[in-house]
């Protein structure tokens, strides 16, 4: 779907992209990682046809620069920093939907799923929204159309855990029909979202690897946590993840989205001295549970056949 051949870009004497060669197929979910100045944003801008460059970039065989309306019509983009647009939210939705031939109601619906009631903010200038609201709206605009390629620059950075969970669900709904490129400077932010990691450094691809992850984007983990004593900071952190506590404030329970578990563990590691028990168990759907049960029965039968004792 995406092909970069010897892609290079220089700003005056600084070579920001240095002979990038990439082939990305439909359905791949790429983590584009690297430190600041590695060339991630420049690569994204080349994919969006915003930079002139040496070498070749094609998306579905088309140049994003020469055939920008056709190519960009199939791309949903979420920038790292929301643009300081003064226009009302309603007009931004209308503008982007009109250009990309999308239904504005679809954008409203996705924003609603992310917890953003568009009707309440339709007349408000985009620039006056909070960071999280802006991010939700930009995600809704990107996902609210029939995009075959989603390019997202730290898309979940400003989202609360609940919105992140829904965001992962939305991505899961698209994983068969769209290619995703998710840029971040931290692998733990995006690791669980992707099946391929491309790391950049000084304008070159220094790592290009597949990621094995058996937990689906829409997977859930049930979590039970026991604290040694009630603690206000821990309570605040867990409440933000929608956890609930018993009356003593010692036993906490809640759900963590599969792709968010690394982030959750990172958060909880800050309170490790307070935790006496922690359990994280994948919540299986009926089909998955049946398959797992079937697998166990098969193992048992094979074990009996081998003369082992089964309990």
């Amino acid at each position: 779907m995406i092909r970069c051949e010897n892609l290079s870009k220089s700003f005056r004497r600084a070579r920001v992209l240095d002979g990038i060669n990439l082939d990305i197929a439909l359905g791949e979910r790429i983590a584009l990682i690297g430190s600041n100045g590695a060339g991630k944003t420049t690569l994204i801008r080349c994919l969006l046809g915003e930079y002139v460059h040496d070498g070749l970039v094609t998306i579905d065989g088309r140049s994003p620069r020469q055939e920008r309306t056709k190519v960009l019509g199939a791309i949903g983009f979420v920038p790292q920093l929301p643009p300081p647009l003064k226009m009302p939210v309603g007009q931004l939705i209308e503008f982007s939907a009109s250009l990309s031939g999308a239904d504005p109601r679809q954008i409203d619906a996705i924003a609603g799923r992310l917890g953003l009631a568009v009707d309440d903010i339709r007349a408000r200038p985009f620039i006056k929204l909070s960071g999280g609201m802006k991010q939700k709206l930009l995600i809704a605009i990107a996902l609210g159309r029939d995009a075959k390629l989603l390019i997202m620059d730290e898309p979940a950075a400003n989202l609360d855990p609940e919105a992140r969970k829904i965001f992962f669900d939305l991505l899961a709904e698209r994983q068969e029909s769209a290619t995703m490129i998710i840029s971040s400077h931290r692998i733990d932010e995006v690791a669980a979202l992707v099946n391929r990691v491309i790391e950049m450094d000084l304008g070159k691809v220094v790592l290009d690897d597949k990621v094995a992850d058996d937990v689906s984007l829409s997977g859930r983990f049930a979590c039970r946590l026991v604290a040694r004593r009630a603690d206000a900071a821990l309570a605040k952190a867990l409440t933000a993840w929608q956890f609930t506590a018993d009356t003593a404030g010692l036993v906490w329970q809640g759900e963590v989205a599969g792709p968010d578990r690394l982030r959750f563990i990172g958060m909880i590691s800050r309170y490790v001295a307070l935790i006496s028990d922690l359990n994280l168990a994948e919540i299986l759907g009926a089909d998955e549970a049946a398959a797992l049960q079937g697998g166990r029965a098969k193992d048992a039968l094979l074990a009996v056949a081998d003369g082992e004792t089964v309990q």
Partner: protein
């Protein structure tokens, strides 16, 4: 065409919410209000009285304010939008570069011209209420002159925005452009002529390349058709163009200059990095 109108509308909405637009509108509305308040319609200059007197003063003030205002606000907002990431996001949407650039010019043109024109319309409205005679010919020509002036400096502003890569650079270049045009209005030309190193025709020719001087002379020609106040330069101008010819030139040339500058700006914009 749909993309062009969408972009134009977007720019209009963005501009209407910008602080510069409020100041800009306030300045021109304020000028008309002050001119009425100070009873300018009752005073007389070179035989002009009533609304003609007010329009003559208004166009002189507008000529002083509009060029620098349009240049600075255009480059500030266009280069500022690029720096702030507005271009990065909006140009990731499927809009053609032509529709984006010309749509932006169209929207901005309407926003820049409307307050100046509405202020003049308001002056006409007040004059009608007060029973003051309306010089429709003068009103029509001044409107065309202001439209040409807005087109000229908007085109120059878009060219500077396309060339300059930062807001600071763009603002500096816009200010320098205005300063050079201002210097060639009188100071440098007078110096050249006094030293006598060039023929008067060349000095007048250089002045007529300067859109600021073109507007100034055209505004003068309206209440001084023989351009007596210009001295010997008047002979060169009137011999070359004639009174009507010069009036048409004063509208056509700056408009063309603005369009050429905008066209060059578009050429540079579409060949370079967008954000």
């Amino acid at each position: 065409m749909k993309q062009l109108w969408l972009t134009a509308r977007l720019d209009i909405v963005e501009s209407l919410r910008a602080r510069w637009f409020m100041i800009y509108t306030g300045v021109f509305g304020g000028i008309v209000a002050l001119l009425f308040l100070f009873g300018l319609t009752e005073s007389r200059v070179l035989g002009f009285i009533g609304l003609s007197r007010l329009l003559v003063t208004y166009i002189q003030l507008t000529m002083a304010i509009l060029p620098i205002f349009v240049l600075i606000t255009t480059v500030r907002s266009v280069a500022g939008d690029r720096e702030a990431g507005v271009f990065e996001y909006l140009l990731s949407l499927p809009v053609s570069l032509g529709a984006w650039f010309w749509g932006k010019i169209l929207g901005r043109y309407l926003v820049v011209f409307a307050p100046v024109f509405v202020a003049m319309l308001a002056a006409v409205g007040i004059a009608m209420v007060k029973g003051i005679e309306i010089p429709w010919d003068m009103f029509g020509y001044y409107t065309a002159l202001l439209a040409a002036m807005a087109a000229c400096f908007l085109g120059l502003g878009m060219l500077i925005s396309a060339v300059a890569r930062s807001t600071d650079m763009a603002q500096g270049a816009a200010f320098m452009t205005w300063l050079v045009l201002l210097l060639f209005l009188d100071l440098i030309l007078l110096g050249v002529m006094i030293q006598g190193r060039v023929a008067p025709e060349i000095a007048v020719g250089v002045a007529l390349v300067n859109p600021l001087q073109v507007f100034r002379t055209a505004a003068l020609a309206l209440f001084d058709p023989q351009l007596i106040v210009l001295g010997p330069a008047a002979f060169v101008i009137l011999d070359t163009f004639g009174v009507l010819g010069y009036k048409l030139f004063a509208i056509a040339y700056p408009t063309l200059l603005g369009l050429l500058a905008a066209g060059l700006g578009y050429f540079i914009f579409r060949r370079g990095d967008l954000p």
